[in-house]
């Protein structure tokens, strides 16, 4: 999407309808989810998704910092999505830029839509997402990791929150864009689904899509989310099959 005035644009779709990495249009990148990756946190997860590596940790319910954010009738959910300086091609200055702050906000709002926050008045549930290696789709990978971490922390929720981005590359709607597709594609549409209700709690979009393409994208994204949902549940099952806190990020 940031390609205006860029040097050269690659071919994103082969005549056979295969993508730059050989995937079909409706195919996810490989995804590996490890619940309980950090011993210090109340809940945690490590996600490798294509060439993304994302760690998430949950602390809480605990005291609210800063104090004036405390709410009398429910927990506040604070999210901090952060990218490591070395996670992208050009070194990123440490600290939260505007993009990270916006993503932190929409992820927090997504979780507020499913967590039973009124069970923990006057507390904070802090969700931390660290992107260690980025290759498009980090907000979705972060959401998936954080959602598993919340479950690992025992925070009661309506449901897990699978997430995936759909996009448009070479004129076709495609699932789960990787970096080159995201950079040079025509549209990007990340979403997060509540599987139980079939509703979306995160939805953003940028690019060009007709109403028909939007409809097609939403359908494809929902299917992708349901596929990821199974992997999330599997990761949590594995976590509790193991002896507690086996640890190890990698």
């Amino acid at each position: 999407m940031g390609s205006v005035g860029a040097k050269e644009v690659p071919v994103l779709l082969s005549p056979e309808g295969l993508r730059i990495d050989g995937r079909r249009l409706d195919e996810l990148r490989p995804i590996r989810i490890q619940a309980g990756a950090l011993r210090q946190a109340d809940g945690s997860a490590f996600v490798e998704w294509g060439a993304n590596k994302v760690m998430a940790a949950v602390y809480g319910p605990r005291e609210v910092h800063p104090r004036h954010l405390q709410q009398n009738n429910k927990a506040v959910i604070q999210c901090r999505y952060n990218m490591a300086a070395f996670s992208v091609d050009e070194r990123k200055r440490p600290g939260l830029d505007r993009r990270s702050q916006e993503i932190s906000k929409v992820i927090a709002e997504a979780f507020e839509s499913v967590v039973f926050a009124e069970e923990f008045p006057r507390t904070s549930i802090d969700v931390y997402i660290e992107v260690l290696q980025a290759n498009a789709g980090t907000r979705c990978a972060g959401l998936v990791a954080a959602s598993v971490a919340l479950a690992d922390a025992g925070i009661p929720m309506v449901d897990l929150l699978p997430a995936v981005a759909v996009g448009k590359v070479g004129g076709a709607i495609a699932l789960d864009l990787k970096k080159e597709e995201d950079n040079f594609g025509e549209a990007d549409l990340p979403m997060a689904l509540v599987p139980q209700s079939g509703r979306l709690v995160l939805l953003q979009m940028e690019g060009h899509m007709s109403p028909e393409e939007l409809a097609q994208s939403l359908d494809l994204g929902v299917r992708g989310c349901r596929e990821i949902y199974e992997k999330m549940k599997q990761a949590l099952r594995e976590r509790y099959a193991l002896t507690p806190a086996a640890g190890g990020a990698a």
Binding site: G2, G5, K7, E102, M205, P211
Partner: protein, 263 residues
């Protein structure tokens, strides 16, 4: 009665009304408040417009200055978008560094302008890799009575449509010339109030809302940007329906963004 309690009572009332298809200010679910745009409000800017939707007002000023292209886009100018939600405009805004809400407004407007290719950034390049125009889009809230996003984009698109490139002043060309605007993205924001999805929410409706959804469309029938915000959820069918409605409102408001006036 504390502010918190009165807000809760108001929320209940808004939701009760919505269940009957009604709104506090008498509008139907698919009706905008009055909209007006006054281009050229600020003489010190290279382009400007004051947009109002109801009592929400955003003043946008454009400034163009010579600068350098980014290394990864050597043939393009630079576009920088910033929204200042100053405490003058609402009791809920505080002085200090930009809050997440202000950042979201900036970024959502920025995405719509950029994705719609509102201006051709390559035409803002003077010498590849060396010199290009930096186009600052600064939006200043002057009143926040709900639906800042739509108001902000209206002000920005109109300000761009009436902007001049100060090429003579900066000794880049013989004469100043108008900034060319190729597309006119319009953002339409909706909120869920129970089973009703209402367009152009007021401040109180935003507080009562169970989800907010913004869809930006252009004049060629394309959706160019979307943003779901606040706590709450939308089904895929909701999204499709909202997109359809966004085109209808977008076509109506686009005339204002081009020429100014009120509707």
């Amino acid at each position: 009665m504390s502010e918190e309690v009165s807000a809760e009572i108001l929320t209940t009332h808004i939701l009760d009304l919505a269940a009957e298809g009604k709104r506090l200010d008498g509008r139907g679910p698919d009706e905008y408040r009055s909209v007006s745009i006054e281009p050229g409000f600020v003489a010190t800017a290279d382009g400007s417009a004051l947009a109002r939707i109801g009592d929400t007002a955003v003043l946008c000023g454009i400034k163009l200055e010579p600068g350098k292209p980014f290394p990864d886009t050597p043939n393009a100018g630079v576009l920088t978008t910033n929204a200042e939600l100053v405490p003058l405009s609402s009791p809920v805004f505080e002085p200090g560094p930009p809050q997440p809400g202000a950042i979201e407004v900036s970024r959502v407007v920025d995405r719509a302008i950029r994705a719609a290719e509102t201006i051709d950034l390559t035409r803002l390049c003077v010498t590849p890799s060396e010199k290009s125009w930096v186009c600052y889009v600064d939006m200043h809230a002057l009143g926040h009575a709900g639906n800042l996003i739509d108001t902000a984009l209206l002000s920005a698109v109109s300000a761009l449509a009436h902007a001049t490139v100060p090429a003579k002043r900066f000794e880049v060309a013989e004469a100043d010339y108008p900034l060319e605007v190729r597309h006119f993205p319009i953002e339409c924001t909706f909120v869920r109030l129970g089973d009703t999805i209402a367009v152009d929410p007021t401040f109180d409706e935003e507080r009562a809302a169970q989800g907010r959804l913004t869809v930006a469309t252009d004049e060629t029938g394309q959706i160019v940007a979307m943003q779901k915000g606040l706590v709450g959820a939308f089904s895929p069918d909701d999204v499709k329906d909202v997109a359809r409605r966004a085109f209808v409102h977008g076509d109506r408001l686009r005339g204002l963004a081009r020429g100014g006036g009120s509707a």
